[in-house]
Every structure is written in structure tokens, then in C-alpha cells.
């Protein structure tokens, strides 16, 4: 087309000038940092609500016809539910940043980031009748209440358990050393959760096995403690066959025997048991990390009334009981145990047990355990280290 040198130079200059003008003109738009206020009263239902949640939280019968608590909601409120699942808290944070979703079930390592970025709005709990029936020890926690403002409704709490193949891993393990110090026995068949927050699991292990590191809180690690956890994980990586973030991949890996031991959620064990696989779970002696989720509402939602209706619905005793039972966690509603038989196994309402789980929390530079003489590693350091651990 343009063969003359002059024409080519002119075109290149025009393109360069144009791009610089465009690039300088549009920087990135800053997110809304103005704090939104909680609504004062509810209005008419808008007819639809879009929810993002962990797998198994928003069931409409398509996975298992016996588990459907969406249809009842849609009939009662007329709010049509569209749901999307995410695999990690980081995905949840990224999805909420788009502003396309109304409600999110945020774990403790996502909720504070969402609040800080202004992606979720304060929730007026007086407008949610079911909120009263929630256990007190789940309310007003640092991951769902900031400066006295509530940002959501607690959903339940559960632990990251150790799952193992009963045919191969014998005797039945009671400690996390199957996947750490003793991992060489099953080298190539160990699995771990593919997310930087897993570093806390290594820290929990070190709390019991290397107490002179002085770790008080697995999310509050200074440089020495952090390096010890990272070294432990690099050691573990040599024996790991696969890291999992998609729970379906872990189910398949345990079914085919590609993984024989590793971190899991109860719901994964439930699915495997349903398919007759030879696996079992245990909460090891050292304790475990876990999660306590909060249903939060987007600050840019156009369906606030349907969103409030969902929060009320999912916290009501029967729905909360069935939903948390399906996923495999303790319920947040006090009367939920009337609707499920396995409350004992999950230590429902057991404030002591609940206080022993190290709930996912976003690590920040100000040490969460209260130390002021050192600085702790923040989440960006954790994610950098995680990439290095994987190599």
C-alpha cells in the first residue's frame, strides 16, 4: 500500500502520536472510594438477582434433584436467580470488581479486600429478620464487621480437612505430616490447595512442630516465620502430584488414584462417598485452617431488594440447615439443626470448636496477632511467594 519511505514515516508518527494521546487521556478509572450507606427500607422486588458463590452454595436441583433451595426462593419473591461459582477467593474479588454481580458469598480472606476496595455495601441487619437467629459468636467478627458497620450475613463455618485414600494410606492418619514431613512415602500423589492462602496451612503445621518459631496466628507471619513456611512448602512441592483449585478436578484425581492424600472440603468427600470411592477425611491434631463465609451485597447492585431477600432466605433456619449440610459445614442459624441430623459431627453452635479453626483472613502488614515490633508479610508477598513455591 504505502511504499514510499515518507508515507511510512508519516503513518508511524501519526500512530505514535495518536496512541500516546489516547493512553495519556485514559488512565484507569479509580474505583468508588466514597463509602456507601446501608439502605433504610426495602422496596419492591426487582425480579432478578445474580449471585456468585462457592460451588454447592446456590443449588437449584440441577446437580442433585434432592438439593434445591433456589426454586423456593424464586417462587416466593419472584426474583429470578442467576448464579456463578468461583474456585478461590481471589476469583471472587476479581469478579466483584466488575460490578456485574449482586450478591457474593465471601470468605474471610476476601471480605476485607472487598470492603476496602468499596465493592460491597454495608448491610442494614434490621431489615433481615433471619439475622436474629444467627449464632452470636459469628456476628461482629473482624471479617464481617468494620467500625461497627455490618457488611453481611454469616453463612456457616467449616474446616479444611485432610482427605486420604483408605486403601493406600494406612494406618489412618491423624496428623498433617502425611502431606508435609512424611510426604515422601506417597511422593507424586500428594495434593494441596492451589492458592497463596495455603501458606497458612504450612504455618499451622509449624505452630505444632516448630514451636520455637513463635507463630501465634498463621496469617500473621513475620519474615523469619514466613520463610520457614515457604521452605516447608518448597519441600512439599517435590512430592506434590497436582495442586487443585477446581473441586471437580480433586474429585476426579482421588477417584483415579492420581492423588492419595491432601487438603479437601467436606463436600468433596461427600461426593466421593456418594460414588463409592475409598476415601475418608479427618481433622488432624494440629488443627486446621477453615473459612467462615459472609453473604455480601455489591455496592453497585441494581437489585438491592432481591439481594436483601436472598440474604434473609439463605439465613432462615431450614434453608441454612440444608445448604450448609450439603456443603459440609456448620450452620450459622441456631435453629438450622432442626432440619439436619449431622449437626454434632460439625460442632454446630460449638463456640469453642469454632474458635480453634483458623479462618481464612487476608494477611496484612500490620500483624494480626497484635505485634507492633515487627512487620508481617502482606497478601501480595504471599502471592509472590506462592508463584515461587510452585516454581
Amino acid at each position: 500500500m504505502m511504499h514510499t519511505a515518507r508515507a511510512r514515516r508519516a503513518a508511524a508518527t501519526a500512530l505514535a502520536v495518536g496512541s500516546i494521546a489516547v493512553l495519556a487521556g485514559c488512565g484507569t478509572s479509580s474505583g468508588s472510594s466514597t463509602p456507601t450507606e446501608a439502605v433504610d427500607e426495602l422496596g419492591d422486588y426487582e425480579g432478578e438477582v445474580s449471585i456468585i458463590a462457592w460451588a454447592g452454595y446456590v443449588e437449584d436441583g440441577s446437580n442433585d434433584p434432592d438439593y434445591d433451595w433456589v426454586s423456593g426462593f424464586e417462587e416466593e419473591t419472584g426474583c429470578k436467580v442467576t448464579s456463578k461459582t468461583f474456585n478461590t477467593s481471589d476469583e471472587a474479588v476479581t469478579l466483584m470488581k466488575t460490578g456485574d454481580y449482586d450478591v457474593v458469598s465471601a470468605s474471610g480472606d476476601a471480605s476485607l479486600r472487598l470492603i476496602a476496595a468499596g465493592d460491597v455495601q454495608p448491610v442494614n441487619v434490621d431489615l433481615i429478620p433471619s439475622y436474629e437467629g444467627i449464632y452470636d459468636f459469628l456476628k461482629d467478627q473482624p471479617w464481617n464487621t468494620v467500625d461497627g458497620e455490618h457488611y453481611g450475613v454469616p453463612h456457616g463455618y467449616g474446616a479444611n480437612l485432610l482427605m486420604y485414600n483408605t486403601d493406600i494410606v494406612q494406618p489412618a492418619p491423624t496428623s498433617w505430616d502425611v502431606v508435609f514431613d512424611g510426604a515422601s512415602e506417597y511422593t507424586g500423589k500428594i495434593t494441596a490447595y492451589d492458592n497463596p492462602i495455603y501458606i497458612a496451612d504450612a504455618a499451622v503445621y509449624l505452630m505444632a512442630h516448630q514451636p520455637d518459631l513463635g507463630i501465634e496466628n498463621p496469617y500473621s507471619l513475620d519474615e523469619t516465620q514466613f520463610q520457614a513456611a515457604v521452605d516447608l512448602l518448597k519441600e512439599q512441592r517435590q512430592h506434590v502430584g497436582e495442586y487443585w483449585s477446581d473441586y471437580l478436578k480433586e474429585i476426579q484425581a482421588f477417584e483415579t488414584g492420581d492423588s492419595v492424600a491432601g487438603t479437601t472440603w467436606q463436600v468433596i468427600q461427600n461426593v466421593l462417598a456418594g460414588e463409592g470411592a475409598a476415601t475418608d477425611v479427618v481433622l488432624p491434631d494440629e488443627g486446621a485452617t477453615g473459612w467462615s463465609d459472609t453473604w455480601m451485597i455489591s455496592s453497585t447492585t441494581e437489585h438491592p431488594n432481591c439481594s436483601y431477600a436472598w440474604l434473609d432466605w439463605i439465613a432462615s433456619p431450614e434453608v441454612n440447615g440444608v445448604a450448609t449440610s450439603y456443603f459440609g459445614e456448620a450452620p450459622s442459624s441456631q435453629e438450622a439443626c432442626d432440619y439436619r441430623e449431622d449437626c454434632e459431627a460439625y460442632h454446630a453452635g460449638d463456640a469453642d470448636y469454632a474458635s480453634q479453626i483458623w479462618y481464612w483472613t487476608t494477611p496484612i502488614a500490620d500483624c494480626l496477632d497484635g505485634r507492633t515490633d515487627v512487620e508481617c508479610m502482606d497478601y501480595s508477598a504471599w502471592t509472590e511467594a506462592w508463584s515461587e513455591i510452585k516454581g
Binding site: E91, V93, R237, G391
Partner: protein, 307 residues
């Protein structure tokens, strides 16, 4: 000679066409060929330059910015920190070498498999067999990428078909890892490598093969001295497909790669988990630079002149 013959034929004069706007612009355009060309190319160039290139440039310019680690907002101050991190960091060097290694290996394997198949399709097969083979080569492309990757995951697992086939010989499936990644990527890109080589070999005239035989060339000599140089541009085109597609891939290694990660996975982690778009953009520059280098090399061989 009557008067009517010499009278001006006023009634038969064709009136000049009315000068509408369309006519005038058409007349003007016919006198200015460069503007004709510009108007013709505006729409596709607009798409290419603004929608594609400018969008890509906007994405990549964030490599020179930074992110506030607490709020996650991007600070638009120019800095070379991310580029330096990516160039000097041990992690990025390792992953880059691994990714380039995988891409080269996949390219080599695909070319080695594709050459005999393409040659058979172009020169040896009957027209009917040719058609059937082309369909057979294209059929995997009808299946989704994920379906094929997960199929390989099932094949390579401990209870998969490969283990069942190899067990009588005392061998085992490689399981999930770099070998599995190379196998799966080679499978995925094979049609993209076969087709350009087939098209190139088809253009090699049969008469040349006969002439070479007449001059005393045996099969391998003919292949090496006559066919390959003529088909070289087509082979290079096939390698560009396999190499560039492997360089940026992050899904296959996630599904069958076990604990390994490639450049694409680092970008994915930094966009998602770390929410560090500037670093992700800096990492994304690596495969772009590598591909430019590869194309520059290819251009030197003259392979691009004949495409």
C-alpha cells in the same frame, strides 16, 4: 443532400447528466486514486488498528505502571520496576526457559509427525483418499479445546487407557507433568501444522519429482534437495502456529501439567490472585518479544517472501 441531414440533430442530443452529489464525488474519486484506496481500507484498518492494536497497546502499557497493594488500584506513574523484576527474577527466567522449551519440543514433534502425513496426502494418496484424509485431519477441530484436554487427562491418569496399554510391558503412564503437557499440546496443534504443510506440498509440481528421478535422484535425495526447499515456507508457517500457540498456553498445563506452570499461568495468577495487572502485563511482554524474535529469524530465511 436534404436539409435534415445537415441540420444539427437537436432532438437526439443526449442531455448531460445532472450533477448530483453522488456523481460529483464519484468523479472526484476517479481522479484521486489514493483517496479511493484510503476509503476502501478504512473499515478493516479501523478494526485492526483501533480495536486490536490499540487495545493491546493499552493493556501492555500498564506494564510500566504500578499497583497499590492494599486497595488494588493502579497508580499511573511510569516505572521500569516490573520490567526489571521480570527480566532478572529467577522465577521468571525458569518459567520462560521451561515455556520456550515446551514450545520448541511441541513444534519439533508436530513437524516430524506432520511431514509424512502431509506428503502422503499431497503426493501419494488418490483424490478420494485425499479428501477423506483432509476431513480426518480437520475433525478434531470440531471438538472443543477443553474436551480434548480433559480427554487426555483421563487417558494419562493412573487408571487411564495408557496405563492399561503399557502395563503388560512393565511401563507406566507418565502421569501429569511436562511430558503430558507436551503430548497434549502436540495433539492439539497437529491439524494446524498439517494443513499448511499439505497446502505447500500440493504446490510442488509432480513434474519436478519425475525430473529429479530422471536425473538419477533416489527418493531421499529428491525429498531433501527438491521437495523440502520448495515446501520450506509452508513448514515455517506450520511451526509459527505450533510455537506461538504453545508459548501462550495456560489451560493445558493446568489440566494435565501437574504442578508445573508456564508463562500463561503466571499472567493468570497475577491478574487473578495477585490482582497485579502491571506485573501481568510485564510478563505478557515476554512471549511477545520471543515471537517477534522468532519471526525476525524466520524472515531472514526468506520463508515469508513466498507465502
Amino acid at each position: 443532400m436534404t436539409d435534415t441531414a445537415t441540420a444539427p440533430p437537436a432532438a437526439r442530443t443526449v442531455p448531460p447528466p445532472r450533477a448530483t452529489a453522488a456523481r460529483r464525488s464519484s468523479a472526484w474519486l476517479s481522479a484521486h486514486p489514493r483517496f479511493r484506496l484510503a476509503f476502501l481500507l478504512t473499515a478493516p484498518l479501523f478494526w485492526l488498528v483501533v480495536v486490536y492494536i490499540v487495545a493491546l497497546a493499552l493493556l501492555l502499557v500498564t506494564a510500566f505502571w504500578q499497583v497499590d497493594s492494599f486497595t488494588g488500584e493502579i497508580i499511573t506513574e511510569w516505572t521500569l520496576d516490573n520490567i526489571i523484576t521480570v527480566v532478572t527474577g529467577a522465577l521468571y527466567q525458569t518459567v520462560t526457559l521451561r515455556t520456550v522449551g515446551i514450545a520448541l519440543l511441541v513444534t519439533l514433534i508436530d513437524v516430524l509427525i506432520a511431514l509424512p502425513i502431509a506428503f502422503y496426502m499431497a503426493k501419494v494418496a488418490s483424490p478420494r483418499a485425499q479428501r477423506l484424509l483432509v476431513i480426518a485431519v480437520l475433525m478434531p477441530l470440531w471438538a472443543s479445546y477443553l474436551v480434548k484436554a480433559y480427554a487426555w487427562r483421563a487417558v494419562l491418569s493412573q487408571e487411564g487407557i495408557l496405563e492399561w496399554i503399557l502395563a503388560p510391558f512393565g511401563l507406566h503412564t507418565p502421569g501429569y507433568g511436562l511430558t503430558a503437557t507436551v503430548i497434549t499440546l502436540s495433539y492439539l496443534w497437529l491439524p494446524y501444522v498439517i494443513l499448511p504443510i499439505y497446502a505447500g506440498l500440493e504446490r510442488v509440481p509432480d513434474s519436478l519429482l519425475e525430473a529429479s528421478a530422471d536425473l538419477g535422484g533416489k527418493s531421499w535425495r529428491t525429498l531433501g534437495s527438491v521437495v523440502l526447499p520448495l515446501a520450506f515456507p509452508a513448514i515455517i508457517a506450520g511451526t509459527i502456529f505450533a510455537f506461538s500457540l504453545s508459548l501462550g498456553d495456560y489451560i493445558t498445563v493446568n489440566i494435565v501439567g501437574g504442578t508445573n506452570q508456564m508463562l500463561g499461568n503466571l499472567v493468570y495468577t497475577n491478574v487473578g490472585a495477585a490482582n497485579n495487572l502491571p506485573l501481568a502485563a510485564a510478563i505478557a511482554l515476554i512471549p511477545i518479544v520471543i515471537i517477534f524474535g522468532y519471526l525476525a529469524l524466520v524472515r531472514r530465511t526468506g520463508a515469508l517472501n513466498n507465502l
